[in-house]
Amino acid sequence: MDFDFTEEQTLLRNMVQSFVQDNYDFDSRMKIVRSQTGMSRENWSQFAELGLLAAPFDESLGGLGGGAVDTMIITEEFGKGLVTEPFLPTVVLCGGLLERHGSDAQKDMHLPPLIGGEKIWALAYSEPKSRFNPANVQTTAKQDGDGFVLSGLKSVVNGGPWADYLIVSARTSGEGWQQDGISLFIVDKSADGVASQDYETIDGGRAADISFENVKLSAESLLGTLDAGLPLLEEALDYGIAAICGEAIGGMHKAHQATVEYCKTRNQFGVAIGSFQALQHRMVDMFMEYEQSVSLTYMVNMHVGGDAASRRRAASGAKVQIGKAGRYIGQSAVHLHGGMGMSEELNVGHYFKRLTAIDAQLGSIDYHLKRFGSSEAA
C-alpha cells in the first residue's frame, strides 16, 4: 500500500496549479464564463501544449500513460480553479472510450486531433426521460445499407455546444431500459440532421439538447460491438465519476478553506466569528466530509480499472460520498459566509454551484445509492 504520489505526479500537479494560478484567477474565470462561448480556446490550446490532454492515454497512442490517477490530479486542480473547459467530456469520457474500445482506424483518425486540442468531444447519452440510467435509451439507430440512420433527442449534453464530435448512445435493438441492444456511435456534429440547442448551466458551464433527425452514419461510425454498447458506456461513466470526484474534492477544499479564512477575519460582537463553537464544529464537520471524500476519490481512482463489479461499487460509493459532502460543504460555506456567501461577486457561491451541478451529473446520490446496493462486492 502506498498513498504517496510519484515525483512525476507531483510535477504534474505543480504545473496545473501554476496554470490555474496564473491564468484562472476568479476574474479571468468569470470573464470566460460570461463570454459568448463560455470557454477559452486559448486555454484549451495551452492544455494541449502542456500535455494535459495527453495525460491519461497510453504512450503508444501519443499519450503520457498517466491513467486515472494523473487524470485525478488534473481534475482536482481544475476543481480548485473552477475550470470550465471540457476536459471531462473530451479527454475522460470520449477519449477514454476511443482508447479502450475504438478500432485502430478510429484511434488513428480521432485521438491525435483530440490530444492536440484541435477537436472537442462530448458524450451524448442522457435523454429527457432517462433519469440517470444510461440503459434507458429511446434514440434509435436503424440499419440502412452498410450504415445507420440515427434519430432521437439527447438532453443536457455537457460541453455539447463546443463539441466537434459526439459519441451517441442509441438503440439498435430492444426497447425501454433493456441492457442489450444499445450501441455507441461517433457522430460529426456538423452532419446533416444534427441540431443543437445550446445553453448555459447553473455552474457557468455549457450544455446542449441535441436532436438527431435521420442522421446518416457510416458503418465505421460504430464504436465497439453492435448491441453491446452499454457496458462500454457504463465503464466510461465510471471513469467519468473517478475524474469528477477529483474535481469535487478540489472544489470542496477551496470552499472549506475560504470559509475557515473568512470566519477567522469576520468580526461580530467584538470577536472573530470563527471563535463561536457552533460554527467551529460545523467547519470541522465540513472538514471531515472533505477528508472522507478524498479517501473515496483515491479509492475509486485506484479501482476504476478493475473488474466491473468492484469498479461499479467503487464508483457509485464515491459518487454518493462526494454528492453528499458537496452539498453539505457547499451549503455550509455559503451559510457561514452570511450575506457575502449569497453574492455572485465572491468565489464561494461559485464553488457551491459547481458542487451542486456535480451532484446532478453522471448520476445523482439516489441513483448511485441504489446502484451501490445492487452491486455486492466481488
Partner: protein, 395 residues
C-alpha cells in the same frame, strides 16, 4: 382543546377565497417570469388596499380590517393556496407598527395612509458591511446640522431598494459608551441627493438586494421617529414583528404540492418517481415536519390571541420554517433530475433564451440557490438558537 374552525370562520375563508379568485390580477397568474416588477407587486397591493385587506394586523383606527388572529391565519392561508404575490413587508409589516407605536401624530397622519395605498415603497436600511448579526455595531453616521441630519454611510443587503421611494434607516447619532445607545431611527427620502443604489446580483442570478451609499445626505430632523438615541429599542420592536409569518407554512404546503406533481410526472424506468418508496419517504418526512410546524404555529397564534405573547419561542418558527423551505427547494431540484442543470435567466435580458426541459424544471436550481438566504436573513438561525438557549432554556 379544539382545532376546528367555527362556521363563521369557515364562511370567512370562503369569502377570502372568492375574493382572490375574482380579483387577483390576471396578468400575474399568466406570467412565467421568475422575477416580478414593481408594478406587479403594486397591482395586487392596490386591489387589497381598496378592499381594506392589505394590512391584516393593523388596528381598525389606522385602516386595518379588525380581524382576529384566526382570521389573519385564514387570510394568509388562502393567499398562499392561491399562490398570490406577497404583500411586501417593509411598509405594511415592518414600518407600520413602528410608526403606530413610536411616531408623532403628524408622522402617523402622513406616512400610514401612503403605506396602505402603496403610494410609498419602503426599504429597510439596517445591515452594513461590518454589521450583520451584530447590528449594534453599525457605523452610518447622522450629524445634526441646523434643521437637518447629515447622513454618511453604507448600507448593504437592502432588499428591493432599487424600487424604493423611502428607506427607514438605523443611524448613529452619537458615539456614547454603549454602542446600542447612540442609534436613531430615521426616515430617508430615496430621491435625496447623495444616495446611490448599487445592485448586488446574488448566486441565483437575481437582483433583489442592493448596496446603498449615503454621502452627505440631508434629512429633515422631523423625519426622526421617536427620541434621538432610541433607535435600538425600535429596531428590537421591529425585529419581533418581522418574525411573524416567517414560518411560511402555507407557502411550503404549496411547494409540497408542486413537489408531488413533479414526482408524478418524472419517471424512473417507467414508474413515476413518487412510487419510488425511498423518494416518497423523503416527501413524507418533510410533510410530517411541516404538519408539526403548522400546529406549532397554530399553538403560537392561540397563545397570542389569549394574550400570552409567543416570546422567544417564535424563533422556532423561523428556524424550522426556513429549514423546511430550504429542504423543499432541494427536493424539488432533486426530483427534476438532469434538467435542474440548465440556467434560466432571472433578469429579462431581452435575449432569445433557449428554454429546454419540462416547464416545471425551469428555475428550480436558482430557487434552491436563492433560498439559502433564508437561514441568514432576519437573524441567522444560529442567532435564533442563541435566543432560545438564553431566553427559553435559561442557558
Amino acid at each position: 382543546m379544539n382545532f376546528d374552525f367555527s362556521p363563521e370562520e369557515n364562511a370567512f375563508r370562503e369569502e377570502v377565497r372568492q375574493f382572490i379568485s375574482d380579483n387577483y390580477p390576471k396578468h400575474l397568474t399568466e406570467s412565467r417570469r421568475a422575477e416580478f416588477t414593481k408594478e406587479d407587486f403594486l397591482s395586487w397591493h392596490r386591489v387589497l388596499a381598496e378592499k381594506g385587506w392589505v394590512a391584516p394586523h393593523w388596528p381598525e383606527e389606522f385602516g386595518g380590517p379588525g380581524w382576529s388572529v384566526t382570521q389573519r391565519y385564514i387570510f394568509d392561508d388562502e393567499c398562499a393556496k392561491a399562490n398570490t404575490l406577497i404583500v411586501l413587508p417593509f411598509g405594511i409589516t415592518m414600518l407600520g407598527p413602528v410608526l403606530m407605536h413610536y411616531a408623532n401624530d403628524a408622522q402617523k397622519a402622513h406616512y400610514l395612509p401612503r403605506i396602505l395605498s402603496g403610494e410609498d415603497w419602503w426599504c429597510q436600511g439596517y445591515s452594513e458591511p461590518g454589521s450583520g448579526s451584530d447590528l449594534a455595531s453599525l457605523k452610518t453616521k447622522a450629524e445634526r446640522d441646523g434643521d437637518d441630519y447629515v447622513v454618511n454611510g453604507h448600507k448593504i443587503w437592502t432588499t428591493l431598494a432599487q424600487h424604493a421611494d423611502w428607506m427607514f434607516c438605523l443611524v448613529r447619532t452619537s458615539q456614547e459608551d454603549k454602542p446600542q445607545k447612540g442609534i436613531s431611527f430615521l426616515l430617508i427620502d430615496m430621491n435625496s441627493p447623495g444616495i446611490e443604489v448599487r445592485p448586488i446580483i446574488t448566486i441565483d442570478g437575481s437582483h433583489e438586494v442592493n448596496e446603498v451609499f449615503l454621502t452627505d445626505v440631508r434629512v429633515p430632523a422631523e423625519n426622526l421617529v421617536g427620541e434621538e438615541g432610541n433607535g435600538w429599542g425600535i429596531a428590537k420592536f421591529l425585529l419581533g414583528n418581522e418574525r411573524t409569518g416567517i414560518a411560511g407554512v402555507a407557502r411550503s404546503k404549496n411547494a409540497v404540492k408542486r413537489l408531488k406533481e413533479i414526482s408524478c410526472a418524472e419517471l424512473v424506468d417507467g414508474e413515476p418517481l413518487i412510487e419510488d418508496m425511498d423518494f416518497k419517504k423523503k416527501i413524507s418526512e418533510l410533510e410530517i415536519d411541516l404538519l408539526a410546524l403548522e400546529y406549532t404555529e397554530l399553538r403560537t397564534l392561540a397563545a397570542e390571541s389569549a394574550g400570552r405573547g409567543p416570546g422567544a419561542e417564535s424563533s422556532i418558527l423561523k428556524i424550522k420554517g426556513t429549514e423546511i423551505q430550504q429542504k423543499l427547494t432541494e427536493l424539488i431540484m432533486e426530483a427534476v433530475g438532469t434538467y435542474s442543470l440548465p440556467k434560466i435567466p432571472m433578469l429579462d435580458t431581452g435575449a432569445n433564451y433557449n428554454l429546454v426541459g419540462p416547464d416545471y424544471s425551469h428555475g428550480v436550481s436558482q430557487n434552491y440557490f436563492n433560498m439559502r438566504k433564508t437561514a441568514i436573513y432576519g437573524g441567522t438561525n444560529e442567532v435564533q438558537r442563541n435566543i432560545i438557549a438564553k431566553f427559553v432554556l435559561g442557558l
